[in-house]
Symmetry: C2
Subunit: 319 residues, 2 copies
């Protein structure tokens, strides 16, 4: 362990996001901003700790996302938004850039850390994607931590749902103190000492979602993608657009087939393809040399990165 | 209507598949082969009828797939395989190459034609993907035909499940008269007179699937993809590989970013990427000029095409 930690010659890198949307300086109190920064830094330090000890990018992605899932500020795990029926339905996915192994879950209501359920699907089953009760049964059998659905209840998200329900009844009603737009997600991409990439994404979906709606977070190629020869990607935004534009894989395809740097590829998709159709959101991307980018076309995106030196960098606004 | 039918200057094309797997001449009786050919021809003529009258590629794809769903020979709609618990859980997706609009459903148990449910999600909701009971509620509200789950029961598929369950208990038991391998799917890609592409896929998934497993058929970018500027794709095969390799969008990406013809792009993915990792299956691909291909790396694939002249062409085996 110590020898690995001391070896440290090769680059490690971790990039995260905590959701994109209407996030502006004037809508954010100093106290709230401080809480978000602290939450993102904690997640970055956790993942960095894994990588610095020679841990895998998969372990770093999972442990980082677990921290964000456990933090009620972010729309994933505890802090997830509510469905139209007042439930919390959680989606997540993870992908190994070395093997293209992938795991995905959707519609979970009793698994504390959906990202770990996605990883269990990847490593302990012959399947890639499981949904609903079947996925919960599998996660339970794998020994993942089960919680009562009330664990996911938070006052802030409950109020968001009530606002949304009110808006449906009275579309003209001015909504004072409106929450940031209703999509949000957390995600991480990591590069480990062995040069392997991984990506993961976890979300509570959209406030007031109906009919078993599934967004891009659990869709391999849309919200999550990783392959060592191109890049690792995790997305956040208006999921329907990210599915239709196959955003995560499209960025990887621009890298592998057009030879574009990850930054240019990600900006091409976010600004030139999604922005014109009002497909709001952003991505984090990382390649096997440690090059990364965090473009978004919304007003803000909770995001950050931490490299070999272990100094966390956190950004929230556009400027 | 008549004027449109008489206009007929522009090319129309419809390509379909009815699943890939262990399909060999020696495993197929003459009578069975005749039934499959008749089923595929009926589907081709139905879709061609829509296109020849000036109908849209979306209408052609939907009506063609409905015919295949209603035919118990194919693993979609009636004729779907059984889950481990002895249920039929149906998945489908559809995509419009002109607008990149898409719709997808997974885990349906009471909707007679899942492809029409996918289209309703695309056209009548703000979402792309719905799963389970929520999706069924939506489809019911949209007026789609509801059936008792027993509608999907067929003796042949029930026996397949029993064989699989037996095999789990006695892995060494020789299985005489084993069914073709347990994946199967139906799909269609179409080009209409206006030059618009569409793609759709529908499946009962894998025999003996567990835990709410979802394969590639309802995943936009994996089992289904369509965009006028590259191509329309529908896949069939071992879904987990098709998700991990983002097969449908990867073929489209090779066309749009490498400038490859659809045939070369599809063969690259099926033979050079999937075959080496034993990712068994095939795809149908079609571009806006009417160029198409139907490559597969399994022993056979039920497939066919019909062009402007209205003559159906059906193939089953490799040779």
């Amino acid at each position: 362990m110590f020898a690995l930690a001391a070896a440290g010659a090769d680059k490690i890198m971790l990039v995260i996001h905590g959701g994109a949307g209407t996030i502006t300086r004037r809508s954010m109190s100093a106290e709230m901003e401080q809480q978000y920064r602290a939450g993102l830094e904690q997640a970055l330090r956790t993942g960095h700790g894994v990588l610095a000890k020679g841990g895998s990018s998969l372990d770093a992605v999972e442990s980082t996302i677990r921290v964000l899932e456990d933090n009620p500020l972010f729309n994933a795990g505890k802090g997830a938004v509510f469905t139209h029926e007042g439930r919390n339905e959680l989606d997540a996915s993870i992908m190994d850039g070395r093997t293209k192994a992938a795991g995905s879950v959707a519609g979970l209501t009793i698994i504390r850390n959906p990202i770990s359920a996605a990883r269990a699907v990847m490593e302990k089953s012959e399947h890639v994607m499981m949904v609903g009760r079947g996925a919960e049964l599998f996660a339970t059998q794998q020994g993942l931590e089960i919680v009562d659905p009330s664990y996911f209840w938070t006052e802030r998200r409950w109020k968001s749902l009530q606002q949304d329900l009110l808006k449906e009844k009275k579309p003209q009603a001015a909504l004072e103190g409106a929450e940031e737009k209703k999509f949000g997600t957390v995600g991480a991409v990591a590069l480990d000492r062995s040069g392997n990439l991984a990506a993961g994404t976890s979300t509570g979906g959209m406030t007031n979602k109906k009919y078993g709606r599934v967004g891009d977070a659990p869709i391999i190629g849309a919200g999550t993608y990783a392959e060592n020869e191109s890049c690792a990607v995790s997305a956040t935004g208006h999921g329907e657009f990210f599915i239709r534009w196959t955003v995560a894989h499209d960025i990887a395809a621009l890298v592998k087939y057009r030879g574009m740097p990850v930054k240019a590829a990600a900006e091409e998709v976010i600004h030139k393809k999604l922005a014109p159709v009002k497909g709001e959101g952003g991505v984090i991307v990382l390649d096997a040399k440690g090059n990364f980018a965090m473009p978004f076309n919304s007003e803000g995106m909770y995001r950050g990165w931490i490299g070999t030196d272990g100094t966390p960098h956190v950004e929230i606004y556009k400027d």
